[in-house]
């Protein structure tokens, strides 16, 4: 990787990341074919752009310039329908969208170099390296050096601390990894647009390899009775990243989009 190239990555800010998809891979690494073992998720994956977001859906956001929207971080329910907002959720969503339209987006935790929070972390268009050890699946994301742990084959503790990335337990059902998460701070949002959630959010993910291990499918079901009238599901895809290494990403070094005193940011 060229020096210039990598410097650009190191100085990059999370919210401006969309165009960097695929960057951060060191070309010197040997290619690694997808592993056919459905229970072996190890290696580097890259969140795919949201291929099934249709232009037909964009006007639903009430926004004049649809091409201006960062597709890869917008979450829609499966079937390209709007999430089933409660009145509270819709008011929050509208407020967040309007802030973006008015170029005064609300700062979210990642804007200030804090963890993205679940589920936004899973959607961010950067590499994630998955490591499996006894009783634990660890996700090391390039972006803001986020770390997420999936505690295998254990019950959800009665009390979990509220954190950005939540507390996750998982188990295998056949070839599908089922992950349940709670304790997710409501400071986070579901996507870059500002699709909201409360701290009642619980996430159930059904993760499996598809296409011979070239892709990971993550069916994420959001159960949040404060923000939504009923649970809804989004489908995320990660692409196998051929053995590439995730890059060092230090948001803290030069954060040009830190929030202003009024809570807005220049990040979009």
């Amino acid at each position: 990787m060229g020096r210039k190239h990598q410097s650009a990555i190191r100085g990059a800010v999370a919210a401006m990341a969309v165009s960097l998809t695929g960057a951060g891979a060191s070309l010197a690494q040997p290619a690694a074919p997808p592993n056919p073992d459905p229970h072996n998720l190890q290696g580097t994956w890259m969140a795919a752009p949201r291929a099934h977001l249709t232009h037909d859906m964009k006007p639903h956001m009430g926004r004049g310039a649809p091409d201006d929207i960062p597709d890869s971080e917008i979450t829609w329910a499966v079937g390209d329908v709007m999430p089933p907002f409660s009145a509270w959720g819709k008011a929050k969503f509208d407020s967040n969208v309007n802030a973006q339209i008015n170029n005064t987006p609300h700062a979210d935790p990642s804007t200030n170099c804090m963890p993205h929070g679940l589920p936004r972390l899973m959607i961010a268009p950067y590499g994630v390296q998955i490591v499996q050890t006894k009783g634990l699946i660890t996700l090391m994301h390039a972006v803001n050096h986020n770390v997420r742990y999936i505690h295998m084959d254990q019950k959800m503790p009665a009390k979990v601390p509220v954190t950005f990335n939540g507390y996750s337990v998982g188990h295998w059902e056949g070839d599908t990894l089922v992950v349940h998460s709670k304790g997710i701070s409501s400071q986070g949002v579901i996507d870059q647009l500002g699709t909201p959630h409360s701290d009642s959010l619980q996430v159930t993910e059904r993760i499996r390899k598809i296409d011979g291990g070239k892709q990971l499918e993550d069916m994420m079901t959001f159960d949040d009775p404060v923000a939504y009238t009923h649970p809804w599901t989004a489908r995320l895809i990660d692409n196998w990243d051929n053995g590439h290494r995730i890059s060092e990403y230090v948001c803290e070094e030069n954060n040009r989009n830190a929030s202003r005193p009024d809570g807005t940011t220049t990040a979009r």
């Binding site: 990787m1 020096r3 990598q6 410097s7 190191r10 060191s26 010197a28 690494q29 040997p30 690694a32 592993n35 056919p36 073992d37 229970h39 072996n40 190890q42 290696g43 935790p109 200030n112 170099c113 804090m114 963890p115 390296q129 490591v131 499996q132 050890t133 006894k134 634990l136 660890t138 090391m140 050096h145 986020n146 770390v147 742990y149 295998m152 601390p161 954190t163 950005f164 990335n165 295998w172 053995g243 290494r245 995730i246 060092e248 230090v250 803290e252 070094e253 954060n255 830190a258």
Partner: protein, 227 residues
């Protein structure tokens, strides 16, 4: 890679998930687990108990940092700005760390600002690349010792809290080994940086296992220490 894939696939039929980690060569120790430095040392010394052999210019920098801290002046410790500790300081930060040994890597996750350091075992060094806060680390086995070389180290990091300096030509060699029935991890750290030190020098740090049910916290520097 191909070999470990095959091994993992074959074993997976019999053992399920546990086999994924077991594809590691059996004769190498497994550092996986939670560790914490036995005793936090803010001012590291060589194994002989001496101040590392600083060149005169570097000694001036170091002495100034020590004087600033003693006088409670702003010391401009880089980690106060929430950037990574750098190598080797990350290893002996006074927080628990999780080591994950799998898939041809030894990965270090420091609780302090959830910092991740990836060590690629059996891979060639990343020559002539940009300096990074945590450098580029590759490892190889010498018997039961994992020897880790780290290059491309950003000169802005400090080697310890006191403020031992280094240049971006520093090469760090760590020798990681297990002792005490697998309960003690030893990291013998050699600093080779002719621009800053008159000779390579070594300092050794030991770690103890953290009880299994104690989990790493979500430590967020930019929240807990305003940037």
């Amino acid at each position: 890679m191909l070999k470990s894939v095959a091994a993992a696939s074959a074993a997976a039929c019999l053992l399920g998930l546990a086999s994924v980690g077991a594809a590691q060569a059996a004769d190498h120790p497994d550092f996986t687990g939670k560790w914490r430095v036995l005793a936090f040392v803010p001012t590291i010394k060589t194994d002989k108990g001496a101040v590392p052999p600083l060149r005169p210019e570097a000694k001036k920098v170091y002495d100034q940092r020590i004087a600033d801290r003693a006088a409670k002046r702003d010391v401009h410790d880089p980690i106060d700005g929430c950037v990574p500790h750098g190598v080797p300081r990350l290893m002996f930060a006074p927080y628990p760390m999780l080591l994950l040994q799998a898939n041809g890597q030894l990965d270090v996750i420091q609780e302090a600002n959830h910092t991740t350091r990836l060590i690629y075992i059996g891979q060639p060094p990343v020559e002539d690349d940009d300096p990074k806060w945590l450098g580029d680390s590759t490892g190889h086995w010498e018997g039961k010792t994992l020897v880790v070389d780290t290059i491309n180290n950003d000169h802005r990091t400090w080697l310890d809290k006191a403020g031992l300096p280094h240049s971006d030509e520093m090469k760090v060699t760590e020798r990681l080994s297990l002792g005490g029935d697998g309960k003690v991890l030893t990291d013998a750290i050699t600093i080779d940086d002719p621009k800053t030190y008159t000779a390579p020098w070594t300092t050794t740090v030991k770690f103890q296992r953290v009880p299994g049910n104690m989990e790493l916290k979500e430590n967020v520097c930019t929240r807990d220490h305003k940037m």
